[in-house]
Symmetry: C2
Subunit: 252 residues, 2 copies
């Protein structure tokens, strides 16, 4: 972090006289794209806006940044207070700051994305009565092209999104598509023990295309990122697959 240094009397005097209100300052908010993967699609947590602006539209969970709180802490607080979740994998995504993105006042939104396995997220949504939904994302662009992403309700109807949240969703999808190959993010979307098939289905849903079964297995096993648990899934209607777990080796 900041290197050790001495504070001089001169500097102390400067700091005492510093007036932070001399310039108009924007508000800073933190928005969280909480994602999961299920049924071959990416899903995101959205909340219905009860207040202006964009009342009735759907928005990412978010909050204004508190004055003595780090950005990461604000993202964790949003997940805790809006979804009742703790210890979820979270990473900063991008900062959105177009002057017109919020009609109230100038708001800089520091966006985060978070990944969680579907069972926990469904439980969180079910335990809430404040209009949270899990929306299926409709990614219309291929590869890592990027662009806004639409959200669909359970009937496949497009949900009207608030602010620039379609852009933020698009950035989150683009990010996890890009990171999937070299970062262990698929594991965040699965329970502790999982068959390799489920890991492949998660990758396919994120990438939006089918993957070769054999080379996927080989690639994952060769990298040593997963280790067999010795257990097998039961009651699957066919040969039960071996269950694996994420191996936290520091290998690349």
């Amino acid at each position: 972090m900041t290197a050790k240094r001495t504070t001089t009397d001169d500097e102390l005097a400067f700091l005492a006289s510093y007036d932070a209100t001399r310039f108009p300052r924007p508000s800073v908010a933190v928005d969280v794209v909480l994602l999961t993967v299920r049924d071959g699609a990416i899903w995101a947590l959205l909340g219905r806006r009860d207040d202006h602006p964009h009342r009735g539209r759907w928005a990412l969970p978010g909050s204004f940044l508190r004055i003595e709180e780090s950005l990461d802490a604000a993202a964790a607080r949003v997940l805790r207070t809006k979804a009742g979740l703790r210890g979820v994998f979270t990473e900063q995504l991008y900062t959105f700051g177009s002057p017109g993105r919020d009609p109230r006042t100038r708001v800089i939104a520091v966006a985060y994305y978070a990944l969680i396995e579907p069972a926990s997220l469904e439980r969180a949504v079910a335990s809430r009565t404040d209009g949270l939904i899990l929306a299926r994302l409709d990614v219309s662009w291929p590869g890592e092209t990027g662009g806004p992403v639409a959200a669909l309700d359970s009937s496949g109807i497009h949900l009207p999104l608030a602010f620039d949240h379609a852009e933020i969703l698009g950035m989150a999808v683009k990010r996890i598509r890009g990171k999937l190959d070299y970062a262990p993010i698929g594991f965040e979307l699965l329970p502790a023990a999982f068959p390799l098939r489920d890991l492949r289905l998660v990758h396919e849903a994120i990438l939006g295309r089918a993957l070769n079964k054999d080379s996927f297995r080989r690639r994952i096993l060769d990298r040593g990122l997963v280790v067999p648990t010795g257990e097998r899934a039961a009651g699957v209607g066919h040969r039960p697959p071996e269950l694996y777990r994420f191996s936290d080796r520091s290998a690349t």
Copy 2:
């Protein structure tokens, strides 16, 4: 961007009564890591701080965000006013917001990185009298590990950096290392026409390791990202190499 929608009288009344000053707001600054590659190393533009805090230490060029200015526009303004540069490749990097990172007040720094070829940057530094220097970066970590990065003056002495700017430099190096393989960022660091050797030296400097000469040539040419200009470099003391230029094909 934001979807088309109608504004109701109800909402207009809400907006008229909205008081943006109800909550304390942090300041928002934009800092730019302007990078180039020369002599097998990465270099960054730094300025000596004339004022408190961190007077005498070295800092990234930056500015507080103006209230009606986009983040991208602020980054472009910083490059224009602090280095006299326009049209430089610039991309958002990461947002730094630890509560203690600036002793004056809470400052959220939206960091950008920019890439330029060394001749233009040297010209910009030489034409300034306000204490700008080109500092060589000392990247001590391998691969995409990440972490703070030190800056050295022309004698190889460590320059004391202001705020958390060693962290920001580290994030910029990590980012360009990661993007080098799939994004055409090497070209931003070279003149319009260049021999393949220079492109390889740029890649090697960024990655911090030697690359196989033959497969580098094959890889670059096979991707069709460069096209021969038909000209050759002269006066190089050996067989003159063909000069290539970046081909702006939309191919992946």
